[in-house]
């Protein structure tokens, strides 16, 4: 017997509203990305304290506005991730363990972005601060932003495993989504090592740590949005999740 929170999305549940917030969130993220003068092109880890201080001096308004925008909306992705977590109720799992894993990292991942915006905004708060301190805050922001991939890697890995374990005739997400998540996880891994070198493809402004990593996150959002929408369209009705599939037992369905 499924309890109220064991049931899946139905018209009027509000899930479509959350789903359709995604295009707006994507536009805002793109705007923040392009507005921040330190992303296109990415700031160099080789810049001296004076150069970094000059950068903030010259671009003060754009740094502030872009990071306030990103501070507001980096966490707007959490409701979308919760839609994915909700779809996981329909998976042929016997326990909610993998869903708990996804909920956990889904909460932590945007907080890492949030923390990086705090450091960028502090760096811009007092342009008359000593260049040494501005460099320090700038480093903290870039390392947090670039290297802070553990929860994104975990998110992709847990989702991939959850999909692989979803052994039923009509799985919630098709198998290729699992492989796609593995590829994205692999693409994110090198960014974690950005602190090791100030130059080359693995530096925080490099091809791998900046462009591949951020493109992978962008691609993940687009592809998972499509897969999520298809999964939501496929859901037959309120019965699902409460009976039928013998692999699904009460703990997994209701938790």
């Amino acid at each position: 017997m499924a309890e109220l929170d064991g049931e899946v999305a139905r018209p009027g549940s509000g899930e479509r509203v959350i789903l359709w917030s995604l295009p707006a969130v994507v536009v805002i993220w793109m705007a923040a990305f392009l507005l921040f003068p330190g992303f296109v092109p990415p700031m160099s880890p080789r810049a001296s304290a004076t150069e970094v201080a000059d950068f903030y001096d010259e671009n003060l308004s754009r740094v502030r506005y872009s990071m306030i925008l990103f501070n507001w909306f980096c966490v707007a992705f959490i409701p979308i991730l919760m839609l994915i977590a909700e779809r996981m109720r329909g998976m042929a799992h016997r326990t909610p363990v993998l869903r708990y894993c996804v909920i956990g990292v889904a909460g932590a991942a945007p907080i890492v972005f949030l923390t990086s915006t705090v450091f960028w905004l502090i760096a811009a708060f007092r342009p008359d601060r000593s260049p040494e301190l501005t460099l320090l805050y700038n480093d903290l922001a870039w390392i947090t932003f670039t290297c802070g991939v553990p929860f994104l890697v975990g998110l992709c890995a847990f989702l991939a495993l959850a999909i692989a374990y979803d052994a039923q005739e009509r799985p919630v997400f098709p198998r290729w989504v699992a492989w796609f998540n593995v590829v994205i996880a692999v693409a994110l891994v090198p960014a974690g090592f950005a602190g090791l070198t100030p130059s080359g493809p693995f530096a925080w402004d490099g091809l791998v740590s900046f462009w591949v990593r951020n493109s992978a996150i962008g691609l993940w959002i687009v592809v998972m949005a499509v897969a999520l929408r298809q999964a939501m369209d496929r859901e037959p009705g309120p019965d699902r999740g409460s009976s039928g599939d013998p692999a699904r037992t009460e703990i997994g369905a209701e938790a």
Partner: protein, 259 residues
């Protein structure tokens, strides 16, 4: 019962995945903190700014590589938390306990271990930074790591309360009280925010050595007990049955004697 067969065909495969990941995560954690970065046992809180410059310079590669590994694999900490949250869900208590534990420990992830990774990486990547700035990063790293207290304090109390109220026999009652010991380590560490020297400083005999002994014991015990829970779990709602008879109790030090 090999790892591969556990993770492929076993009906409890999600639980086994979470359990093996828990073991792997805590092993990685030990290797990174005690071995690669040598940030445990921690540096001295009373170092002068110039000495912190030397401290960073003396372990630059270890800090950068070690914390890079945490940057990549730190998300696996979620598996232990998810498994413990599931163990609480399996109890007769309200889901509120499980969700509280899940949320508390995941909040802990950012101040409790991401901050030390960021601070130490930033310190190690520019050894030429001014001594005052290096000392600031040194303090941020160690104090955020050992001084993130409340989430673990309340989280352990939540787990303890759930175990003591539980009627499904998921954990033995003595383990409930062991949670209290873990919660108390977060009280004992509090003076490290105040003292730079002595037994209560962040590297002190009480604040570090006793706390690590308690935390290490606690972690080893709950990893063992979680394995027992998985073996006993029948996916039902009532009391957990005893371990299936005749099943080899691997890794139990008294396995041969017991059988």
């Amino acid at each position: 019962m090999s790892i591969v067969s556990n993770l492929r065909a076993d009906p409890k495969r999600e639980l086994w995945f979470a359990w093996y990941s828990t073991v792997a995560f805590y092993s990685l954690y030990s290797v990174v903190f005690f071995g690669l970065t040598r940030t445990q046992p921690p540096g001295k809180p009373w170092l002068e700014p110039e000495q912190t410059v030397e401290w960073f310079a003396g372990r630059q590669d270890g800090l950068l590589v070690g914390f890079a590994l945490i940057f990549v694999l730190g998300g696996w900490s979620a598996t232990a938390i998810a498994l413990i949250a599931y163990s609480i869900r399996r109890m007769s208590v309200s889901r509120a306990f499980a969700y509280s534990y899940l949320v508390l420990y995941l909040i802990a992830a950012v101040p409790g271990f991401l901050f030390i990774c960021v601070a130490m990486t930033v310190g190690a990547m520019r050894p030429e930074r001014s001594p005052e700035a290096q000392q600031w990063l040194y303090d941020l790293g160690f104090l955020s790591f050992s001084g993130t207290m409340g989430v673990f304090l309340v989280g352990s109390l939540i787990w303890m309360t759930a175990i003591l109220l539980d009627k499904n026999r998921v954990f033995p009652r003595w383990f409930g009280y062991l949670n209290l010991c873990n919660a108390l380590t977060e009280v004992v560490i509090a003076p490290s925010w105040i003292f730079q020297r002595g037994v209560l400083a962040w590297d002190g005999v009480i604040a570090w050595w006793i706390d690590v002994a308690v935390f290490g014991t606690y972690t080893g015990v709950f990893i063992y007990l979680l394995r027992e829970v998985i073996v006993r779990d029948d996916f039902g709602r009532g009391p957990l049955p005893d371990a299936p008879p005749g099943r080899p109790r691997r890794w139990h030090p008294l396995a041969k004697v017991v059988r």
